[in-house]
Symmetry: C2
Subunit: 244 residues, 2 copies
Amino acid sequence: MAKGSLREKKERQEQIVDCLRSEAYWTSQKLCNHLNTSYRTLMRDLAELKEAGVPIESERGRGGGISLVGRWGIRNLHLNNSEVISLLVSLAITESIKSPILVDNVRSIKNRISSAFPIEQQQVISKIRKRILVGNIASENVIRSYSPPRQSVLSDLTDSFFNLNKIEIRYLSSKNEITDRLIEPQMLALEFPVWYFLCWDELRQDARLFRIDRILSTKKTNMTFKIRRSDAFMEGAHELFNNI
Amino acid sequence: MAKGSLREKKERQEQIVDCLRSEAYWTSQKLCNHLNTSYRTLMRDLAELKEAGVPIESERGRGGGISLVGRWGIRNLHLNNSEVISLLVSLAITESIKSPILVDNVRSIKNRISSAFPIEQQQVISKIRKRILVGNIASENVIRSYSPPRQSVLSDLTDSFFNLNKIEIRYLSSKNEITDRLIEPQMLALEFPVWYFLCWDELRQDARLFRIDRILSTKKTNMTFKIRRSDAFMEGAHELFNNI
DNA sequence: TAATATGTGCCACTAATTGGCATATTTGTG
DNA sequence: CACAAATATGCCAATTAGTGGCACATATTA
């Protein structure tokens, strides 16, 4: 390549974004100087960055210049499956709270995060989102009777939920009766701060609701299950819950 | 460059990551084939990607291969100032709920998101984080008496909070007395779902707590203020609140 | 109208990228 | 233990993608 180019293209483009982030307004001259690069190359870089989706805005004419719209950027954030879900659930919770300080932003962030993933992953994420519901704060009664569930029970259940594995549970009903069940954890619902599993009960061949802290113990199985139509699990609860 | 190279480096490296995300295991041969590139170039790309922080793992020897650790990736997510804060607040809220399904992930995501920003921004973010507190769910009394604040009041207050501008407010005290005050919104605290502003009250020259839905109206000013030591605003509340 | 910005097409120069080859190095298997 | 299958690396010649300079277009403001 031509004279004076020491760093490589990629690095230089990152520098440009960093510059634009650190100060609100730049002119191309100032940037050329700062980066020690030619005007022509700068303009090419800017064009490439814009094409790549970096929200760079430029104003022509006297008093014009170059600026970055979202001046805060996340680069290269690698998350695993359950971290993505946590992130989305977290935003959904915040949204459901209708906390005025945040609510405007939260929805758009949720969508932006979702669409920041590659398309194939978006479909997977979207499927999981449909299986998680967030409602209102639980009633005082429920909150008072709520106790945090055991960690092992919890991880078994979430595994089972994500991997679509049937699971055996020992459950303490609200009438204080202990029963053993084989269930398909179809959906998850949150009524602050209590989680419920909306399940298909194999033995009773019907939909059942299980409060997570009332599940006493679990036993994994290798049997898999398929997602059922959500209608059965929602029965008039549509107004109470929202998908994440 | 040498034969058969149609796309550019950057694009090819993105393709590599996409491949690794779409399937759990690849061998270099398979990747070379798929990308129509030479082995040598592939290895160089992999090295570069690793250096750039992409969590690629490779196992040598028979049965070895190349894989991506976090197979879900966000690329190029551009957020503005308040969106970043919303995201972090949202995660903090989730964390404070101690919702067992998420709590393990949430803390690590929070940190990963924070550190995914350029260093200069990390400092700014960290300063704001110190000014936002999250406590427990408000008491039933408070929840019952809570009404969502007016949007205009809200946006004035958040502007004032982020830009460090003093602001005049008309406040309805818990004794139902209406007073006018000039305040510095130093900190924000959440007791689910109620937000409080921890402020320096100019006229009374003391720290005061304002419940957001009791602020009747606001009037912006151009006066700026400085962050004060948080001690005055916390007074024994340290155990009740956590920074986001 | 002049001054000051960004945006673009063209072209020659060249250094950064590429691919091939040889060679380590690691690991599992018969 | 020897062999096979994988990743990892150094070197070098070929070449192309990237660069910079120049001229010109276009937009905006004073």
